[in-house]
């Protein structure tokens, strides 16, 4: 049966993809951020997961407001990256695992999470930047895993509640563990932490709230479900609602995890950037 080895969190800011494309990892601005990924890569090198479940939020590439799924799961053999409008180099396609996707979709709907299945899905920076950070070189990387994208809506309200996100993750964990192949799976919770891009409050970052989220998500994610969606906007900023992805990831890991590593940097672009390794405890 499939084993979930743990979860990784990371921001997925477009500027990071740009910095990688330009080779700026050792510049003073970027170094504290990129150095935070060295322990993550060492952990991945040790465990070599076969599949990465990449939980992210599309920002207007794979989905538009004409049809906006609250929860969408990729069911493709590969996922293409496309121009998002900024001229960042387009990355090669990401190999998927369509049979496992369909197993997850079956098990999620069985558990009453009515998701949207996607046999074609263009993946944007929300998906690609974490893959670049964790597996530099992507398909050239010797341990590059197959990936299954899961996207949650944070583009327009109503967005899911934090409780729903955590419950989704718990159901996802059961779905993954019931896959009959003996493979290792890592779950990525991407996006956040606090940031606001729009309005007169643009540039808002909340270090104290981010720190609290990074602490609670380890041992007491349930406590975070008390935060209402409007309170999340207030405390984390309009786009800080991406923290929902972290909740989904955390739910999949089971009750007990060990936080092996964490890094937090302000600012990366307009964002408080949080990186963590949460290893599952058997």
């Amino acid at each position: 049966m499939a084993t979930i080895i743990g979860g990784l969190t990371t921001s997925h800011i477009p500027a990071v993809g740009n910095a990688i494309a330009q080779g700026l990892q050792n510049e003073p601005y970027w170094k504290p951020f990129f150095d935070g990924y060295k322990p993550v890569r060492a952990w991945l090198e040790k465990h070599k997961p076969d599949v990465a479940i990449n939980i992210y939020n599309d920002h207007g590439l794979g989905f538009f407001l004409d049809k906006m799924p609250t929860f969408a799961i990729g069911a493709a053999h590969e996922y293409v990256n496309e121009d998002e409008g900024w001229g960042i180099p387009v990355l090669p396609p990401f190999p998927g695992d369509a049979p496992m996707s369909w197993h997850i979709i079956e098990r999620m709907v069985e558990q009453e999470f009515d998701i949207t299945s996607c046999q074609e899905l263009a993946v944007d920076h929300g998906f690609t930047v974490p893959m670049q950070l964790f597996w530099p070189g992507l398909t050239e990387h010797p341990d590059f895993p197959r990936a299954i994208p899961i996207s949650a809506n944070t583009v327009q309200h109503p967005i899911p509640t934090l409780k729903r996100a955590l419950d989704f993750g718990r159901a996802l964990g059961r779905a993954i563990r019931s896959w009959p192949e003996d493979i290792k799976v890592v779950v990525l919770g991407t996006g956040g932490l606090s940031h606001q891009l729009d309005g007169e409050r643009a540039g808002f970052i909340n270090k104290e709230f981010d720190r609290m989220c990074m602490e609670k998500i380890v041992d007491d994610p349930e406590a975070l479900t008390a935060i209402s969606r409007m309170e999340l906007v207030r405390q984390a900023g309009s786009q800080g609602t991406e923290f929902l992805m972290w909740m989904m990831m955390r739910g999949a890991l089971g009750d007990k995890v060990n936080a092996l590593h964490q890094n937090y940097v302000i600012p990366i672009s307009n964002t408080g950037a949080g990186t963590m390794i949460l290893e599952c405890v058997d």
């Binding site: 500027a15 920002h59 207007g60 590439l61 538009f64 407001l65 004409d66 496309e82 121009d83 998002e84 409008g85 900024w86 001229g87 583009v155 327009q156 309200h157 109503p158 509640t161 606001q196 891009l197 729009d198 309005g199 007169e200 409050r201 643009a202 540039g203 970052i205 909340n206 270090k207 209402s228 969606r229 409007m230 906007v233 207030r234 309009s238 786009q239 940097v265 302000i266 600012p267 672009s269 307009n270 408080g272």
Partner: protein, 119 residues
């Protein structure tokens, strides 16, 4: 159910909640900005912005906000920041440029504000 009111005129200062009401109001504007994912559409807009905006059915207030490259006005007219970011990309404006414009700061002042929040 706990009460969790969704109100675009929320009491969160300087923040517009992009919900169904704003999604209806800004649909044409956002659809146009979504089209800017494709390079040929960006080129078509730059070649003739008025014709391009007309094709997507923007109203006059939305058109004026685009002509002025006024992000706050675009948000007031229903623009969603994720799509507006693609509009900004046409003019090579990044999120610090956009942030500075919306907060009435210079780009350097805006960047300093970001750094200060890490202290």
């Amino acid at each position: 159910m706990n009460s969790d009111p969704i109100d675009p005129h929320s009491d969160i200062e300087g923040t517009t909640i992009f919900d169904g009401r704003m999604a209806m109001k800004g649909y044409a504007l956002n659809k146009m900005c979504y089209s800017f994912n494709k390079a040929e559409n960006r080129a078509a807009y730059l070649a003739d912005p008025e014709a391009y905006m007309q094709e997507y059915g923007l109203n006059e207030a939305q058109k004026q906000a685009c002509r002025d490259r006024d992000v706050l006005a675009m948000i007031a007219e229903g623009g969603n920041i994720y799509y507006l970011a693609k509009f900004a990309g046409i003019y090579k404006l990044n999120m610090q440029d956009i942030g500075a414009q919306q907060t009435g700061m210079s780009v350097e002042e805006f960047k300093e504000k970001l750094v200060r929040q890490g202290d």
